[in-house]
Symmetry: C2
């Protein structure tokens, strides 16, 4: 029996390549998948439409879109009036597209939904290989969040279960992620990556997120 | 020199007795205080007006109100169509006013603001004595959050500092909290506690939060 059979899971879904692949993987493991997305004043709000398409196409049991006013806090090129860089960010530098504590905020809301639904499994598409050097994508961070989650919640204190934060992509390359999704039948044309779409709605092709996507597909398809 | 002198701090401020006292304490320690409050679909939205009054009266350097759609998630008498109990909750029971992962969501957003401002200190009015038995008010939870925060953030990874989550009330009685605030000149008539105000805007006097407030004042003033 697949390990997710009979279990509910919450999937953080941005509508990009990584989180869409995670949803496909969790579905393949048999989980009843509840997707959660965030409207946080991101300049690429178009990704929410991609999230809706992907949740529907992959048979998510529900899809909750939660508004979070990260734009009131600012501090990032994705939420404030700071330009998105169009050159690759040097290795070892955290770029201005970093949103302060974003994964912590999103995982917290995912945890809230999990507790409300009676789910013990939360999936996130964090990746520490072909990524932008964000600190909240590293395995030690995910472990620390899981530990905290099991002290934070009524469900963990009273209940018989334990929350698991799953980051199945964390050590995969972008090409490996895409090959996994293709093998599961994921249609990546439904997904969206660009941080800074043009006024006509087309991806810029130059931001970090576009660069990782393009290179990932080149590598994944070149090796097939 | 007071230990907060020349340092910025973020204060989670609901506008109730506890968080208002924390703001008064942090101000007395010399911190430049940046208050943050949350509009989360709470039925007692009137507490945000109290938070604004308290932030202004205590000289907060800024006050940010962040919308967070916890009402999209539900699961609590404070955010969903569940009645607020009007009898005291038995000891050892977590009541239906518990909001799944609320302090985790709020601390995460406080952390985001701290990182954006360049602050290393986040204050929360969590209390594990005269409280409602919420798991995210316990010292071990606060410690786990602090540990996670120092792995989550660009500031902690690149910077020279370390985030501290301060919960100065955690082992105080409600009467002790009120005596501390009074000694610092806090005007508690500015604050708001009731979870379930009447249509005319008056506190119900019967919910857990009203009960703790009333008993706290009786004890604090009886002992002066």
């Amino acid at each position: 029996m697949p390990k997710g059979e009979g279990r509910k899971a919450v999937i953080l879904l941005s509508g990009g390549v990584d989180s869409s692949t995670v949803l496909a993987m969790a579905r393949a493991e048999g989980y009843e998948c509840h997707a959660i997305s965030f409207e946080y004043g991101q300049r690429h709000g178009v990704e929410l439409e991609a999230a809706r398409r992907v949740a529907a196409a992959l048979g998510a049991a529900s899809h909750t879109v939660v508004p979070v006013g990260l734009d009131r806090i600012g501090g990032s090129a994705l939420t404030a009036e700071i330009d998105v860089p169009k050159a690759a960010t040097p290795k070892g530098t955290i770029p201005v597209t970093y949103v302060p504590a974003r994964n912590t905020v999103f995982l917290s809301l995912g945890l809230a939904l999990a507790e409300t639904l009676g789910a013990w499994d939360v999936f996130i598409g964090a990746n520490a290989v072909d990524y932008s050097g964000y600190p909240d994508c590293r395995p030690e961070y995910i472990e620390a969040f899981e530990q905290m989650a099991n002290l934070a919640t009524k469900a963990a204190v009273e209940g018989s279960g334990r929350f698991s934060i799953h980051a199945p992509l964390i050590r995969m390359t972008k090409a490996g992620i895409i090959r996994t999704g293709l093998a599961l039948g994921l249609d990546y044309s439904l997904t969206w990556s660009c941080y800074d779409p043009a006024p006509d709605g087309s991806p810029c092709g130059l931001c970090d997120s576009c660069r990782f996507r393009i290179r990932g597909f080149e590598e994944a398809l070149g090796q097939q």
